[in-house]
């Protein structure tokens, strides 16, 4: 039974797979490629050592991460998973630049909007001031000539007749 239930590691190493095989839970026989990558990059003894030093509840995640790194390295023998890190860093830098640029545009538009509001306020104030000035000038001009359209001679005649006869009409 142990022959048919050998894990991918023991199958690859052509050895008996014991019940307490460290690698068996994480390298099932249904996925030989997973172990093949790990074996090529890290080696059986290194993997076993790495997993053995970890608490059992963390071994599954560790095996997954190790598998990922191994398969990345098989796919890209020069950079492996480090290429992904580089690309992410690059993307982060680009995103930061984009964010700063967009925030700058927002600040610009905010400033423009404030400026427009200020200008509108100034225009309102000017309009009010102008209106006030117009009223003032109307009042001033009406005091100097209360009857601008009346014939001045007639007015003079009226005043003379009032004062000569000594009585008022």
């Amino acid at each position: 039974m142990s022959h048919s239930r050998r894990c991918a590691a023991c199958k690859s190493l052509r050895r008996r797979c014991p019940k307490d095989c460290v690698l068996a839970p994480y390298f099932p026989p249904t996925n030989p490629q997973r172990y093949a990558c790990v074996h090529k990059i890290f080696g059986a003894s290194n993997i076993t050592k790495m997993l053995e030093q970890l608490p059992v509840h963390l071994r599954a995640v560790a095996a997954d991460c190790i598998s990922f790194e191994a398969s990345s390295r098989v796919e890209d023998p020069v950079y492996g998973s480090v290429r992904i890190i580089s690309q992410l860093q690059e993307q982060i830098t680009e995103a930061q630049t984009e964010l700063v640029k967009t925030k700058g545009e927002i600040a610009f538009h905010n400033a423009q909007q404030q400026q427009q509001q200020q200008m509108q306020q100034l225009q309102m104030i000017h309009a009010i001031a102008q209106e006030g000035e117009d009223q003032h000038s109307w009042l001033s001009s009406s005091q100097q000539d209360p009857f601008p359209n009346v014939n001045q001679q007639l007015l003079e005649d009226y005043n003379y007749s009032n004062t000569f006869f000594g009585f008022e009409f």
Partner: protein, 210 residues
């Protein structure tokens, strides 16, 4: 090469063997950086590294060694998540930035819709660009819960068709990217990551050749 016969490379020193003139490790593991080889040896093993280097062109080997050293360093710092923890953190950062950009562009579009700029085309272009940003390198998953994130995380890791790797990575376990972020060491310096296609000189924690 006279100096190499007097001072063996870090690899041969570590392995306690004579450093031959044609030593494959010597150009990449100088004697003044013993930790570099020690880490690589611990994680990958000397014979595996030799095989890897022999499969590459000589001009690719320096970058390969530096990226291996970086991965080994990450794995020793974080024996559970290794490099993958950092990838998760960076993905999270990128996702946050993209959300901020999206909010900022939506705020900006209000001004454009009010006709302040007077260019409706800019709003359309901004929305289109925002959509393209989300496609990007396809490394960022969508929203949703952990399970959904788990699904997107795996499929988004590989821009090319690597479904088999995704399945193997999954391994039938619930992969929680939030755990990755928590486990990454706080001392990581993002600026020290190796840059592909750049000549790498010193490494240790400064694999970044620039």
């Amino acid at each position: 090469m006279a100096s190499s016969s007097n001072s063996p490379c870090a690899a041969c020193k570590f392995l306690r063997r004579k450093c031959q003139p044609e030593c494959v490790f010597a150009p990449y593991f100088p004697p003044d950086q013993p930790q570099k080889f020690a880490n690589v040896h611990k994680v990958f093993g000397a014979s595996n590294v030799t095989k890897l280097l022999n499969e590459l062109h000589p001009h690719q080997r320096e970058d390969a060694v530096n990226s291996l050293a970086f991965e080994a360093d990450m794995r020793l710092r974080d024996p559970v998540y290794g490099c993958v923890g950092l990838i998760s953190v960076l993905q999270h950062q990128l996702r946050q930035l993209q959300m901020e950009i999206s909010c900022a562009k939506s705020e900006l579009s209000k001004y454009q819709n009010l006709g302040i700029t007077g260019h409706g085309l800019i709003a359309a272009a901004a929305n289109n660009y925002n959509h393209q940003q989300n496609l990007g390198i396809n490394l960022i998953g969508g929203g949703g819960g952990v399970r959904d994130h788990h699904h997107h995380y795996h499929h988004q890791f590989f821009p090319r068709d690597q479904q088999q790797m995704i399945r193997s990575f999954d391994g039938g376990n619930n992969y929680d990217a939030s755990l990755l972020a928590m486990n990454v060491s706080a001392n990581l310096q993002l600026s020290q990551f190796p840059q592909p296609r750049a000549a790498a000189g010193d490494d240790r924690r400064t694999i970044d050749p620039s």
